[in-house]
Symmetry: C2
Subunit: 367 residues, 2 copies
């Protein structure tokens, strides 16, 4: 009855990504639309001896909440969830959509109010995770809505989603370990390096990674993953870059983005569509005009753009950069309310040199 | 799109039954199968200023848990739920079934182990409720499975369910207040009375209510409700009674039950079907052979037996008695792991005399 790919996905999440052990308190989060995946994960958590808590949500209720709740309600912190973030061991979130445009007409200020109020939950999760006191992973469940957003049938989209997670392989975890080992070699090679230079039809850009750390993103926090990322030295970025793939912000696609940097700062920005949104994002705060992230996507299971950043930013043969907030574990100091990933194709006539040495050519590592 | 009866039900639960006030912490519990009702209640809680926490469950996961969890998992108490029972203000539970026989082959000892472990949650709920520190109500959402159990189509069953809750009236809460006022008159009249005598084709029974209290069950804890109940003096019950309606225990229907009492104790018991189950229940512990409850059903919106005790025990024109555990608020001292309600039709040639005065005749109060 159940899609057998869900059982394999559940095993990857529970065993590979989170390493559930007997007695651990495991939160399982997802919309009712993800029920088949929630069931598979629930059963796998039991099998590994974990104690599951279900946080099943519903897009209709979430929307009703954002539309109708008063200020006290919008900013209320559920004590049982606060306790969970304080004490639990693991967080497994199954994302999904019933309608990618369902929130289009919700006042973004109300969304921000909720996010600001719930910020302690996010901080606690990230802090405890950094202290190795908490494991988390977020994944994605294919629905008709997401397939529609990606211009595919559900069957095609399912094949895309599970393909990106290596679920179509006999032993997906072995594939993830293999990718992880390959990425670790690159991360190790990059240690102590200083200067990165991108050249090609879409970029002519230099940035410094001196003193910064590349993170090996290998499916432990995001499923799928497949990227190595760092935070560049804030004032070191110079040159220009064009982002081929549209970037989706608040349900609007900003496409044909071009940025010019001088001493780290975006001094020129233009988008072919929804340029106003691009300008507004860059003007959010001081950090929004600086790069918080530079990353190389390595997942060749993801072979097309689908408008979902979880997948898009890992497309093998692309790099992405984010304006705004940087991740402290990379050494980045950039702070901002914005973290906006933009994706640049490097598969044609493109190179990355590191400290003058050819590191990457036409979408492939060469060291 | 939504069944408008659900919005009326939500209002009865939130306003009439639980009196949700701004800032209150309100748990909303139900299976994914009850989603339309969960949504209606969630929205109504928001409207009344409450802070809802969703506890959405899934019968498949509950069954998987009972079948596959190890002992540590079976007896684990979710800290976030413990906190909820300790601190929250309101509990609204929407019962349902996807398959009334889904649990038939689950080992009852495993179910008992879970129930025993979670007993503190029940105790906390009842204790805080007795201290007026916590409100709770349980209701029922109609599904195909429950309709099938009741030998009806879904449409017929929905009409039955909402009819029993007076949702088909313009102002259901007004109907509940009316029933409550009627019941209160009977409860007041019964104060200080001593001897109850049932006579008719199904009963020839005496019991004492001296020093005991009748409770006016008017839709605040059960929706639907419609009964007045007490706990008889334990050793005062003498005579015999036949229960016309089958009693369902652990998915098995025990029908044609006849009991004989001497000085409160069941000294003879026979069932036409599943007699072994009846005997096993009565042999559970010392309290299982004594009555813990005597009650009169008053809900004439419930006009047929459906195999669901929430409805059956309130059928207008019936009385019911429970062997086993009695409710402390009635003055009952009877303790038992069993509380088994059995329903006796009083609509034909039947009377109840109280201290020698005719109190009830052929299913109707006469005082």
């Amino acid at each position: 009855m159940t899609d057998p790919r869900l059982d394999k996905l559940a095993n990857v999440l529970v065993d590979y990504a989170c390493a559930v052990k007997p007695g651990m308190w495991v939160g399982i989060l997802g919309d009712v639309a993800t029920l088949p995946a929630l069931r598979a994960v629930y059963r796998e958590v039991l099998k590994y001896g974990g104690n599951p808590t279900l946080f099943i949500s519903d897009e209709w209720m979430a929307r009703t909440f954002l539309r109708e709740a008063n200020d006290d309600q919008l900013t209320w912190l559920d004590p049982s969830q606060s306790l969970y973030y304080e004490k639990a061991d693991i967080y497994i979130r199954i994302g999904s959509s019933n309608n990618t445009r369902a929130m289009t007409n919700i006042d973004p200020q109300r969304v921000q109010k909720v996010n600001a109020a719930r910020r302690p939950w996010l901080d606690q999760r990230l802090m405890r995770s950094a202290n190795l006191d908490f494991e988390w992973v977020g994944t994605w469940y294919p629905t008709e809505s997401s397939a529609q957003e990606a211009n595919m049938s559900l069957e095609e989209y399912e094949a895309f989603v599970y393909g990106s997670m290596f679920i179509d392989h006999d032993d997906p975890a072995a594939k993830w370990r293999e990718l992880s080992a390959m990425q670790q070699l690159k991360v190790d090679w990059l240690k102590g390096k200083k200067q990165v230079r991108l050249q090609g039809p879409n970029a002519e850009l230099e940035l410094s990674i001196e003193g910064r750390t590349f993170v090996n993103s290998d499916g432990h926090k995001n499923m799928p993953s497949g990227e190595i990322f760092t935070g560049p030295v804030e004032d070191s970025v110079n040159g220009w870059v064009r982002f081929d793939y549209p970037s989706i912000v608040a349900g609007r696609a900003v496409s044909g983005i071009e940025l010019k940097f001088e001493q780290g700062k975006v001094v020129y920005a233009h988008a072919e569509s929804n340029d106003d949104l691009l300008q507004a994002q860059l003007n959010t705060d001081a950090g929004a005009r600086y790069l918080g992230e530079f990353a190389i996507g390595t997942n060749f299971g993801i072979n097309r753009f689908t408008g979902n950043i979880l997948f898009d930013e890992k497309i093998g043969g692309t790099v992405h950069m984010a304006v705004g907030m940087g991740y402290p574990e990379t050494g980045s100091h950039n702070k901002s309310a914005v973290h906006w990933d933009m994706i640049c194709d490097m598969r044609n006539d493109s190179t990355i040199h590191v400290d003058g040495e050819l590191f990457y050519k036409n979408g492939q590592f060469v060291v």
